[in-house]
Amino acid sequence: MLTLDRNLLHRFGLLLVILFVGLALSLLTDTFLSVANFTNVARQISINGILAVGVTFVLLTAGVDLSLGSVVALSGVACATFAHPGDHSVFVPIAVGLLTGAACGLVNGVLVTRGGVAPFIVTLGMMTIARGLALIVSGGRPVADMSNELTALAGDFLGVPIPVLCFAGVAFAAWFFLRNFRLGRHIYAVGGNENAARAAGVPVEKVKLFAYGLCGLLTGLAGVVLAARITTGQPNAGQAYELDAIAAVVIGGTSLAGGVGTITGTLLGVLLIGVINNGLDLMGVSSYYQAVIKGVIIVGAVWLDRRQARS
């Protein structure tokens, strides 16, 4: 019961922090509290949100994925390469983007499980490999000239931005999966105590492979969505995206040691980071200061949480 209460308390606390920041921004600026701005925030957080949901799976298994940003760029470039008007149906570039991401994730997973290399090292390597591949495939230049069908992915559907719908769908599916699928339970078991999970008959290697593969697939999705939004495949896109994603997950209460964490927590973490980014923009804070402030808030939020956990 205690842990359950702690989780609730944590999420409740996080929600209070978000409301507090929102209230402060409503008073400090006259632009924050508006439907247009809220839509804007939702649109801005959707890419980080999709990445954060994916990396939640990896962090739950006590792993890490540092290659998110580079794989976003590679998937976006791969997608854009197949998205010139009149070349293919719109489903081809989307599938290419998703599969590129999934392939990177599976390579990470295979090296972690079969190769026995630490996730930090494997994904650090993938971070530079994927970035390099993105530059090679694109010749170092943005891949432009995308079909309208694809760039329409950044548009609205029934008044709601499609990236936001993607994020919402991914988040709901992930929540449902972790809660109701046997494989979801196995992810918690592997992260909680890998050796005990193995002794209990959990197929530890498959579970990890799935987590990295799924994270890669969602990274591919984020790459496609980003390419649609900026209407190019940018080989330099997605720099340091992994840091915002991992920060959101950790703020949301997921333990870097694995086995503890929820999708709802991750959503709140994504929301907090998004609101802070938006607020600093609205207040006209220089991006140099924004970086410092965001770092302080990330470390501060986790520090407060851990202090509360110890007491």
């Binding site: 979801g184 339970r185 078991a189 005990a196």
Partner: protein, 491 residues
Amino acid sequence: MLRALELRKDFAGLTVLYPTTIDFLPGEVHALMGENGAGKSTLMKILAGLYRPDGGQVEWREHHAEFTSPHDALVAGIAMIHQELMPIPDLTVAENITLGSEPCSAFGLIARTAQLARAQELLDELESEIDPTRMMRTLTVAQTQVVEVAKALGRQADVILMDEPTAALSDHEVAALFRAIARLKARGVAIVYTTHKMDEVFRLADRISVLRDGRLVGTAQAAELNPAKLITMMVGRELADVFPVRHPPSDDILLEASGLTREPAYRDISFQVRRGEVVALAGLMGAGRTEVVSAIFGLQPASEGQIRLKGTPLSIRNPQDALAAGIGMVTEDRKGLGLIPALGVGQNITLSALRDYGRGPLINHPAEAAASRTQMSEFSVKANSPSQPIAQLSGGNQQKALLARCLLGGPDLIILDEPTRGIDIGAKAEIYALIQKLARAGKGILLVSSELPEVLSLAHRIVVLRRGSVSATLDAASADQETVLRHAMPL
């Protein structure tokens, strides 16, 4: 000189050392004897400042001493050689030996030459030929143990606590250690010594204290004892009413292991388990018991040999294979290989058999909750609710939950590795009753236990292991503790 006064220690609400008073005298080798889990290591760790006592106090040179860390004890003059070796693998032998007492020159720089000389001197004292410039990582277990001993000698301590210092040593190295101990005695150093080797006790010890179940049975001059008397003191207890009646097994062979080998842990291990039979693997720590059952469950498969279940040869590469074939296991290492600490009790119980409570890849939550509640009441696991994290339960309740997990899938062969270690007598009795119930239901039980009364009262047959080989297969009805120990002890 050093006195344990009414020392008591509890772990998670369970008393592992009841108030115990022992005096340790200068120039004396004092042996602490007892079965695994009797409280010897706990007592030593309190004296060495590693544990804080929950009652009583340590008196050092007739003053109350409060050691809050091993460093405090070291400064006072108490050094310890640990049973679990704690080398730093990427430092040299000399750096390990002088760790924490490095000879320094001006400006706090380490004086390399003096360091090497000091290490060489200590190794010479142990008549060892280990090169002090070698990396610790390259040493054998026996050599590592010699280095640990040298490290303790180098502390110039007045008391040296030695927790099974010879477990990994060859006869030659043991002899050298004994000569070093004799020299220490002559200098007036007090030695506190534990071992499982009978011959060592009577060669070394001046006085012997026997612990059993965390209580001091008595202290006597070594000259007044003999091995038989000592064994009786170590194991003698009445547990008759705790153990339920055994029923005769069937003739139906369930498990047949033949020629299991994985050097250097064990070799050519063969035995059978019939339906309705409890077979115990007995032996000292390190005899290979856990390794053999781990092979049958697929945790660490054997390199040679065959396992047949119900006549069918099995190829078991991992626990999944074993579970699918109908073999379940409760491991000795509850924390490391059993519990998923953050998951609820119920989720821990259903982990191995989750497939039975759902459709396709989905979990059926009501069916799962019903199954965990049934198991919890059947095994009398006391918890607030199935969602309470298992880490918050007592050791006995955790163990019962793990038994519930193991049995939920309905295995035919059940491997229990030290199923009653570190749990209280009430929970022990429940587990004993359960074992007989399972046997009566036609299951085969393979039991590993270091507690001889348990082995003798629960098992139908006892397979005794000594240094990785079967030294005897005994009929429990006609065996006694002395016989088992005689086959288990390396001579």
